[in-house]
Symmetry: none
Subunit: 214 residues, 4 copies
DNA sequence: CATGAATGAGCATTCATTCAT
DNA sequence: AATGAATGAATGCTCATTCAT
């Protein structure tokens, strides 16, 4: 009778299409007015639905909708960034590809990421500690840290605390969206290339310093 | 008859104390459940007030309360970071001091900054673009950019786009709070010192370049 | 998603019925305690609704509800008075029919008119001057003035300032409600017939004048 | 300790002055935004008081303030109209003086009367049935009726139901304020003189009709 | 006499959610 | 599968009134 959260295979085609339509509308609304301002009424209006009841019909509740958005966007994100990073020959190249792929994805999915970022910012205190966005964020950070450790093991990266630098790199990535919000005309190409330089400099083994300090 | 927003000198002692008490309670609540979830009811409860009416009595508006929080925190922030940065002999030292002072302030005012960051994240779509937090954020970024340009002029920093790197550094600073939210046990000392290294590496004139130009 | 103000044809049967029910309850409450005292809570209670939310569900606004009441009552009023006035053979007969029809309508719709009068009295200071009730009142007065001018052109009415006498007649009509409020046991039949005499006397061509011109 | 409603003799000079000042401010505010919109905050602001507490200090409660306004204005009204009516040699002259004095008083005390009219319109349902304004209105009407009866006894007025015509005349008088509200530029002189004519015509003994019907 | 801080009831409105159809 | 009517809790805010000073 009600909102199945089961795997997609159990859904009819119509069901899947409706869910996608609602998620897309919700992403747009959240990107525009924030998660807090994205009422079911506004989302339904944007999606051209006749009633907010349809949202509750397809999603168990608000949290389910929000989680679905995060899952959807992060899946697409992983599908874009993952292969490019995996294809890189060395950890340094992978890190460079990671920044580039992130910038690319942000360019093409700005609203989706703004929405997810807004959701992540607002998901505190839920008690269960395992909101979809928090879990995804943690996994993301772990992967980055592992990449850094591999690079250190192979001598491509200088000696740093991998957790700290992973956090720093994630901060830089997330900061792009913040910058875009404040200044929508930001030149993403220029900023992205500066970011690649910055990340290279902060991770690279210093050419002389290495010898000098030893 | 109500809620004067006049300068603090025009306020009675009681008025100032109550406002401070309410602001403190609001900061705690916002840091915990976000600005959107920080209802007057919750703030009043936290502050031990008998009713939400007292909040409206001391602040004209919800917006007035929010703006007051931002003003209060940013004033304290500027009071801590500003002098330390100003006292530094060179731009590079100033940048290092900036990171250090930020980490210090975040350590001692975590909830205050979480609150302000949450407010800033949620202040979109207002249109006028002149919400208290947006203005403060812009001024902050401009100051950082100017510092970088001075350092470049004095040959302390490598050639980079000052705006981009200013944004990057701000991203790193703001990211601390995000990291603290996800992982409250983060070792701030360790992360702060890694951050200082990272910022030095990303701005410093590369050793070989240094040699070439000398 | 909510509170359509569209034409009645676009409404479902249920919608129309609920709106009518709420309007009827609101009229009763306003007639009793005035527009200012007619809170949604009181109206909902009178209508037997479970919550004030249902009022906001069917009407966009308090203003929308108030305007709907005025529109509804004035439409019924025009539907009763208009044809009777239009059917009269001469302006004098029309004026007589106007008074009679007004008294009739007041008798059968006392509370409705009390409500509308109260709304009209309270709709000041809005500035735009185009509240539903103000517009209706002006149109009403204009029609009355035009009737008087026609009567003067046909020699049925004495020479008077048509605007002034229109205002006077409207004052007499509106005064009925005031009198009914103060003294609910007022004999409307007696008062109505006296009013018809009074209006005839104040507009008729004086007998001697009549004789002179014949 | 608190708001005495006792006779003026028991009040100090300051007390009297403060009450007058508050009443005057309240009259202005009520005339502008209506009784419902005239909050203590607005009245205190208009009167230049530092707190609404001062109003409650001088008046027992809102009803006391409202009643005081009505009493004050109606006393002034009676002081102006009464003597002029009493000085007239005949009932017909008294009635004519009554209309003239009313128009005069309205001209010089427009806001005061608008305030009282608004108060009267909103004073329903109080239960005790004896709100200050209702009592005053009744006394006013009784006096008018008595005047009409005297005129009939002396053969100056035609045979009509004195109560009905008294109500009609009061309606005409009260209507002036309504007209002034809708159209502030109304020519009071012209309207007043038309009103005198109208009242004469509706009360006078018809020159021929009298003979014809007998 | 006067002040201003405090109180708590009441307001219109928004909202996610339920449910009969 | 979808609709739209209904619910009731929650929100920011206004208000008359109280009271210690």
């Amino acid at each position: 009778m009600q909102a199945k959260s089961g795997s997609p295979e159990q859904m009819t085609f119509t069901e899947q299409a409706r869910r996608a339509q609602i998620i897309e509308a919700a992403v747009e609304v959240i990107a525009e007015v924030g998660s807090a301002g994205a009422s079911f009424a506004r989302i339904a209006e944007r999606a051209g639905l006749s009633s907010t009841g349809l949202i509750t019909y397809h999603f168990a509740n608000r949290q389910d909708l929000i989680d679905s958005i995060v899952r959807e966007v992060m899946t697409a994100f992983a599908g874009h960034v993952g292969p490019l990073v995996a294809a890189a020959p060395t950890p340094a190249a992978a890190l460079d590809a990671f920044i580039g792929a992130n910038v690319d994805f942000i360019r093409s999915h700005r609203r989706h990421l703004l929405a997810v970022l807004d959701i992540a910012a607002g998901s505190r205190d839920t008690g269960d500690g395992a909101s979809a966005s928090a879990a995804v964020a943690r996994a993301d950070l772990d992967a980055l840290q592992e990449l850094l450790e591999r690079g250190q093991a192979q001598g491509e990266f200088r000696a740093f605390d991998p957790r700290s630098v992973a956090i720093a790199i994630r901060s830089l990535r997330d900061g792009i969206l913040g910058a875009l919000t404040v200044d929508p005309d930001l030149d993403l190409d220029a900023y992205g290339s500066e970011l690649r330089t910055v990340v290279r400099l902060m991770t690279a083994v210093p050419p002389y310093a290495q010898g000098e300090t030893s």
